[in-house]
């Protein structure tokens, strides 16, 4: 089954523009993790900060463009992995190993097509 692992962290801890030494350190950890995933990794990427986000909203058929993410929350989507594993337990085991800079959460969602 294919799952998307969505990484939610408070991007403020990386400093303005989501750059700096803390991010560099975390990126290196993600590289290690990706290597460990091997063939189970279908895809994935880190995302720039929400200050770079643009939202296209559709309401009653009309599309409007907004600055910023869809919802203001304490933790923001900061990156994702797309993995192919046998079941949820395998996905949970990998989600637990995803490197984080501090507190955060990983949302695990099966892909519609992967069912």
């Amino acid at each position: 089954m294919q799952y998307m692992l969505m990484i939610y962290e408070d991007e403020k801890i990386f400093g303005p523009g989501k750059a700096g030494p803390m991010l560099q350190e975390l990126v290196a950890k993600h590289m290690d993790f990706s290597r460990e995933l091997g063939a189970k990794r279908v895809g994935g990427a880190g995302l720039k900060g929400t200050s770079s986000a643009t939202t296209v909203r559709t309401k009653a058929g009309a599309k409007t463009i907004h600055d910023g993410p869809f919802a203001e929350t304490r933790e923001q989507l900061g990156g994702f992995y797309l993995i192919d594993v046998p079941d949820l337990d395998a996905a949970i085991a990998l989600a637990k190993k995803i490197p984080l800079a501090g507190d955060g959460s990983i949302e695990i969602r099966p892909l519609l097509a992967g069912a």
């Binding site: 089954m1 799952y3 046998p86 079941d87 949820l88 337990d89 996905a91 949970i92 085991a93 099966p110």
Partner: protein
């Protein structure tokens, strides 16, 4: 050639058959529906042809076939092809060599109690699928409407299927976490039955099912001290049910319960489980559950009200438990024991060290505090604490007990209270 009845077979082997089907086809709905179909066919055929010699194997075989047919129908429906007619199994086929039913009940318990399933649904799903309780029975036990329960069950089964919850016994690295989810499911479900101190009505049967489930788990993972201690705890708690409420419907605190009213055979079973738990725990640090069960064991070792209550041992065990689990419930229980050993003044001192603000809505906090203030002859404060406890809506037997204590005291100090 008449074997056991359908009712008895379903009661004894229903879970096993459903578990085997679910594990094989990885689909709870399919397993339940196929089993129901097999039962319906048995109800039709057995009275006519006589009960089969191996009724469980008969049901398993027919349910297996029904599952395969249902899967085939699903597939053809997906392909928009006409449905194939369902072949009726011949009598010979059904009588032929009995297939052995693999024991997949542990897998099924792990599926129903998976941490990815909503906490409030896990117990209900386990009772439905593993204990084979009816929707009506579970709804009554949980005090929710049948449509609400059905919705929860449907959502839980949907989540299991959609999220890819494995129908496997978890791997060693996830073993403890997953077993813990099973334990807490059983604890939550039993607490529901235990809340009703009188144990009248549907709860008595329900509690019996919970005991059976804890015993089943202990049988399936016989080397886990926590599983054995959990079974011990449920048996001890259930054994004391006859003494928990007096004739006028008022709660009786543990130390005032007449041990002669306790159900001895259940206590003996509890002792057997707890002794095995201690043996399994070996020399390692006992887990909180083993210690908790040991507290129950200490109480249940009391033979009559003439024997002194084992407060010192209980206090020592709570001290040990506190090292593992420092929360308000453990602290308050420890304080109750401390009051008996070191006096109410010392105990109250410890109550006042707790964070009153975070415990404002915690009934035991007010109840314990009220009792200590009463014993220290501070009636006005005690009255206020009893009122705070009563305002939190305790169930009937406990409310009656709190009311009696408050009112007896109020008589002495009227008109203050």
């Amino acid at each position: 050639m008449t074997g056991p009845s359908l009712d008895r077979t379903v009661r004894e082997f229903g879970t096993r058959i459903v578990a085997a089907l679910a594990a094989r086809f990885r689909d709870l709905d399919l397993a339940e529906e196929a089993f129901a179909e097999a039962c319906a066919r048995a109800a039709e055929r057995w009275p006519r042809d006589g009960n089969p010699r191996e009724p469980a194997a008969w049901l398993y075989r027919v349910a297996m076939r029904a599952s395969i047919d249902a899967l085939r129908r699903r597939r053809t429906r997906l392909l928009h092809a006409p449905e194939e007619p369902e072949p009726e199994p011949t009598a010979e086929e059904l009588m032929s060599e009995a297939p052995s039913i693999p024991d997949e009940r542990l897998r099924l318990i792990f599926v129903c109690c998976h941490p990815a399933v909503a906490v409030e649904s896990r117990a209900a799903l386990t009772l439905r699928i593993v204990c084979r309780l009816s929707v009506q029975e579970i709804a009554r036990a949980f005090l929710i409407s049948e449509p609400t329960l059905l919705q929860r069950l449907t959502r839980a089964k949907h989540k299991i299927a959609e999220a890819g919850v494995p129908f496997e016994v978890p791997s060693p690295d996830a073993w403890n976490e997953r077993l813990d989810a099973v334990y807490s499911t059983i604890e939550v479900a039993y607490a529901k039955a235990h809340e009703d101190a009188a144990g009248s009505g549907p709860h008595a049967q329900y509690a019996a099912e919970m005991l059976a489930l804890s015993a089943l788990l202990a049988e399936l993972v016989p080397h886990e001290p926590d599983a054995l201690s959990l079974a011990a705890m449920l048996h001890y708690a259930e054994a004391r049910r006859p003494a928990r409420v007096d004739r006028s419907g008022i709660m009786v605190p543990l130390s005032e319960q007449d041990p002669l009213l306790w159900h001895r055979p259940l206590i003996d079973k509890g002792h057997a489980y707890q002794l095995r738990a201690i043996a399994q725990a070996g020399r390692g640090r006992p887990t909180p559950r083993v210690i908790q069960a040991q507290i129950h064991r200490t109480w249940c070792a009391r033979r009559s009200l003439d024997e002194p209550a084992p407060w010192r041992d209980v206090l020592a065990l709570y001290d040990m438990l506190l090292e593992h689990r420092d929360d308000a419930i453990v602290r308050l229980n420890r304080i109750v024991a401390l009051a008996e050993v070191a006096g109410a003044q010392a105990a109250l001192g410890q109550v006042e060290q707790l964070d009153a603000a975070t415990l404002a809505n915690f009934l035991p906090y007010h109840a314990v505090r009220a009792d200590l203030l009463r014993r220290l002859d501070r009636p006005e404060e005690a009255c206020a604490a009893y009122d705070a406890a009563l305002a939190l809506g305790p169930e009937t037997a406990e409310r009656n007990w709190l009311l009696r204590r408050r009112d007896r005291m109020a008589k002495d100090i009227r008109p203050i209270c």
